[in-house]
């Protein structure tokens, strides 16, 4: 298969455009749903990955977000609820040349699909996962999800939920994930940048997209995304740069002892030098976990690529084992196998 692809890359220096990926299906999300912005960001990214258009596959589970594959003209598979990661694994392992994207929701991947979610992360199969976190089950009309904040009133929690929610970033790290980023559906520029970076990452990359469901959890992320509060509540992480935020770029994150703290630049003699420098590549994820946890009012929310570390991908390791076995095994065909080991001949009577 790798031969095939090399040929193809030579054959096709054609420049692709967004139009190469626009599907003929009517987009059926609610007007105003954050999903539209995510779709348009991905449509901007796909043509620019240097991959031929037939080598993209988009898979999903079930949910509003999981309708995604219909809206992009690639190979696509709208699976069953919660199982997108397993589908994607089978596809990518079969053909590592494919660029596999997965669109999924907080219900699809953190509720019913939780097990496949944590396992794909630890296996580090090179899939790009877009996790649409609207903190609600949209498609089934408004039940709480594993990311719904404690106490929220929904159709199935008329007195408020009593469950401690997952924070996707923390779960990704706990599951040995090698790439975690967080973006908001209101910032298309950052979405495309981060998607591009995730595509380049070798291994499972998880982008949590804080997505607005206008119908069932409208404004759930507004403390982070609203015009009035976003400057104070968003920290845009950049690798190698100090963690500074605020309307006037006058606040920063410090790590003292084993805890993070927001400090004001210029106060108590604090300057840029005292601010934590973001290093997305550190193997020990302790600090990434702390960053992923930050939440207003105490902290701003960390956006951008929080963690990106190198680790062998499953499918590469698999291809290596196969290559080695092909080279070293005396068995060249199934006939050889059938005749290997203890056999005996019966001569004609």
């Amino acid at each position: 298969m790798s031969n095939e692809t090399i040929e193809i890359e030579i054959e096709q220096p054609v420049k692709l455009t967004k139009e190469d990926f626009v599907s003929d299906q009517m987009v059926k999300w609610c007007p105003g749903c954050g999903d539209h912005a995510i779709l348009s960001s991905l449509l901007k990214v796909l043509p620019n990955l240097g991959t031929k258009k037939e080598n993209f596959v988009i898979v999903s589970g079930i949910g509003c977000s999981s309708r995604f594959p219909y809206y992009v003209k690639t190979y696509g598979f709208h699976g069953i609820h919660g199982r997108a990661a397993a589908l994607a694994s089978g596809i990518k392992i079969t053909n590592p040349e494919l660029s596999v994207w997965m669109a999924t929701g907080d219900g699809d991947s953190m509720a019913i699909g939780g097990n496949h979610f944590i396992h794909i992360l630890r296996r580090n199969i090179d899939i790009n996962i877009l996790l649409f976190n609207n903190k609600i089950y949209g498609l089934t009309k408004g039940q709480y999800s594993p990311t719904t904040s404690f106490g929220t009133i929904t159709k199935t929690s008329p007195q408020g939920t009593i469950e401690h929610p997952f924070n996707p970033g923390e779960l990704v790290i706990g599951a040995q994930g090698t790439f975690f980023a967080r973006v908001v559906d209101t910032n298309p520029k950052m979405m495309t940048e981060v998607m591009l970076e995730s595509a380049k990452h070798k291994g499972t990359s998880l982008i949590e997209i804080l997505q607005n469901c206008v119908i069932f959890s409208n404004q759930i992320h507004s403390i982070i995304t609203s015009k009035e509060t976003k400057d104070e509540n968003q920290l845009h992480l950049k690798h190698g740069e100090p963690m500074i935020f605020g309307k006037n770029n006058d606040k920063g994150i410090q790590c003292n002892g084993t805890k993070l703290k927001v400090v004001k630049l210029g106060e108590n003699g604090i300057s840029e030098k005292n601010i934590l420098i973001h290093n997305k590549n550190t193997a020990d994820p302790g600090i990434h976990l702390m960053l992923a946890r930050m939440y207003p009012p105490e902290f701003p929310v960390a956006l951008g690529v929080i963690r990106s570390v190198k680790y062998p991908t499953y499918e590469n390791s698999m291809e290596k084992l196969i290559k080695r076995a092909k080279k070293t095994s005396p068995l060249k065909s199934v006939d050889d196998l059938l005749n290997s080991g203890n056999t005996w001949k019966i001569k004609p009577f």
Binding site: G76, I80, G90
Partner: protein, 616 residues
Amino acid sequence: MTKKHNNVVNVEDVVVRFVGDSGDGMQLTGTLFSDASAIAGYDFATFPDYPSEIRAPQGTIAGVSGFQVHIGHKDIYTTGDLADVLVAMNPASVKSNIKWARTGATIIIDTDTFTEKALKKAGYTDNPLNNDSLKDYNLVKAPISTLTKECVANLDVDNKTAMKSRNMFALGIIFFIFNRDYKSADSFLEEKFKQKPLVLKINKQILRAGYNYADTIEAIESTYNLEPAELEKGTYRNITGNVATAWGFLAAAERSGRNLFLGSYPITPASEILQELSKHKQFGAKVFQAEDEIAGIVSSIGASFAGSLAVTTTSGPGLSLKSEAIGLAVMTELPIVIVDVQRGGPSTGLPTKSEQSDLLQALFGRNGEAPVIIIAASSCSNCFYYAYEASRLAIEHMTPVILLTDGYLANGSEIFKIPKIADLSAINPPIVKPNDPDYEPYKRDNEKLNRLWAIPGSEGLRHRIGGLEKENIYGNVSHDPDNHQLMCELRADKVKRVANYIPKQKIIGKKKGDLLVVGWGGTHGVLLEAVKKMQKKGKKVSLAHFNYINPLPKNTEDIFSNFKKIIVAELNLGQFVLYLRMNFQQIKFEQFNKIQGLPFRVSELVDKFNQILEEK
């Protein structure tokens, strides 16, 4: 070999059962005996019978591990009802296994192990060697432990090591009893212990000592002589059902030009298929040990979408978990083979025992109208062919196929005539050529009704599928009422038409008669033996044993209509018979069921069939 003071009995076949503590190496002993028999040209069948605990407490009944071998010069279809020779390495073995020995059987016993403590552990209040309880058997009481230790006194080994090879002493006795050359075990021992020359030496030496001991003492009343089997010429090997299944898939992958992908989660008694395929990366087989059964099948569906010959293997509880995903494969019309190595149910049930109780689940265990092809293997060695056949049908008809085997076939072994892969029927994947302008995701072959396989990466064929109802031809999501009815019917029809692509049902015996015995899957050997026995006695009995279950072969009704009575014999409470009743309402079926985690015995079958023949 000199034969001195004993009779030589000529027999057609013989059943030997080796039993001992889990640590006593009885599986190895049994395998060596069957392999040596094979080399000498006999047919055989074996079945291991071990406890569900990894190491149950030593010396207890729970810890007894057994291995039964049936060898003979005629075709051997079963592992035998009752043993002619029982090798029992300790009191617990005698206590728990004497019921498997026929009256008059030879019982070889290590008398050294009959200590008071061991007797108590086995639950004996009285030493059976000192009372009458074993008087109906031909006891060969040998101080095997003592003799074993003595025999390696010349070598630099401690007692513990020596005792580990106690089984070889017993095997030596058996070799003598069957007039078998002890050297025939040498090559196997050499292979097995090639890294451990001392162990090899010990084993060989003890084996010979056992042989010589039997030759010397006068306890052996008679030795057996078997004519070699009249086997077709060819190259043979020993094979278990699980290994045969694994190899069948490798063959199908090679023949179809598709990469093999296995997504599976370990479960008794199916794990060996997964383990076997893990070894064969040289053929490009990709084995994905999934986090659970659901990921096992769903990853396979993904792999199938991407162009693999996709397989998932499991047992009953795992098949339950795969139900929803099988429906997805039905809707997306992708090829995938689901192997269910049946075990005792319901629920966790009897994990190490075999039965045939997943048939109705295989037929109906999914939401909605979700028909799939179902086939069943019926011998350890034809697991190879049915795994191959399942792959062929899945790929050529673009549909999931469930292949049913069972714990008995899976762990049992028999001789396997090695085929040439080139001689197997071709497998033609209906793959779409890149840029085919006529391609539509749900356009179908006129005859088979399968849709085509457009594999990601192919130019000009981008399309999207999924679990929602599909628009005919175009494959878009469709809520149209008439389309839904049409698609449900098309999916059903596609599976029904498979009947045009499978062999006709065979019948063993006359085409007309008084009684037709009907079976399916793993009971073939024993049903055949029972029917042949009755045919020899002049009874008008025939056997129709099914491997193709959904759809049934086209001539099934014809076959049924030519018999006065039909009895369906199964290891469950009656599942195939229900299925036949709903398909052939006009035909009357009697049923014989057993659900004990044990195979049928020839004798109970013959009794039952005779009774049916006599009833008015």
